[in-house]
């Protein structure tokens, strides 16, 4: 069983488990050890859902203090593009889902130049070029991380399955809803007007 004892999760445990948000990979990095709950008999490392939950809340608090229109959210990964788009549509953040051109953050003469106050990446490895430029301009990097990621140049991690289609939908949906709650645009009792399905890639 993958179940963990917890009564403070942002979504019912069954929903999280069925989406596999806790499922990592067969690789574990030293950096991610504190966020790993256990290893399954089939060799897959499993993420700690309480820590995932806590980090979604911390990340939302962190972002809520920023000018959201200058927070860049990136996904080079296909399954992450729609969730990122939807997240940006709902929150007003700036999506970066096309091929990232170098100079986007560093060259003010470039036509698509963008000056971020923070960057959220779906996978620090796949979105490496974005992390490099964010580092060059000195803005904090928030990264969704699975068991195989390393934390080089990452300032805040959200431990979550960043490969699965449904998991990525839940990751960005939870972050968007929590951000709305932090901004007092939504009370904890109020239902979020967009569904997880709206965040899920169909490709």
């Amino acid at each position: 069983m993958d179940t963990q004892q917890s009564d403070t999760l942002l979504l019912p445990q069954e929903v999280l488990l069925s989406a596999g948000v806790h499922i990592g990979t067969r690789v574990k990095t030293k950096d991610m050890i504190p966020f790993i709950y256990k290893v399954r008999p089939d060799g897959l490392f499993v993420l700690d859902m309480d820590k995932m939950n806590e980090r979604v809340k911390v990340a939302a608090k962190f972002i809520s203090r920023m000018d959201i229109s200058r927070v860049a959210v990136a996904s080079s990964k296909r399954y992450g593009r729609l969730p990122v788009h939807k997240f940006c549509e709902v929150t007003g953040a700036h999506p970066l889902v096309a091929r990232f051109t170098s100079g986007t953050f560093t060259n003010p003469t470039y036509s698509h130049y963008f000056e971020p106050v923070a960057v959220i990446v779906t996978d620090a490895l796949a979105d490496q070029q974005i992390v490099v430029e964010a580092t060059a301009v000195g803005v904090p990097v928030i990264a969704l991380c699975s068991t195989d990621n390393n934390l080089s140049n990452v300032d805040l991690i959200i431990p979550i399955n960043n490969k699965g289609r449904r998991s990525l939908a839940i990751a960005y949906w939870l972050l968007a809803r929590q951000l709305k709650r932090e901004l007092k645009e939504l009370t904890p009792e109020q239902e979020f007007s967009v569904s997880i399905d709206d965040f899920e890639s169909t490709m």
Partner: protein, 53 residues
Amino acid sequence: MPSCISCSKRIAPGEKTVKFPCPSCGTVTIWRCERCRLFGRTYTCPGCGFKGP
């Protein structure tokens, strides 16, 4: 000059560094030096005890 929250080294002018308010409490400014950030070294907020990254 500010110093790195993880290694206490003074941040050199022009160093590729990052500063941000603690993600959790928002009241303490966290400075991370280039090396500590590159190696993913942990930091602890002196205000609220939050451990990052």
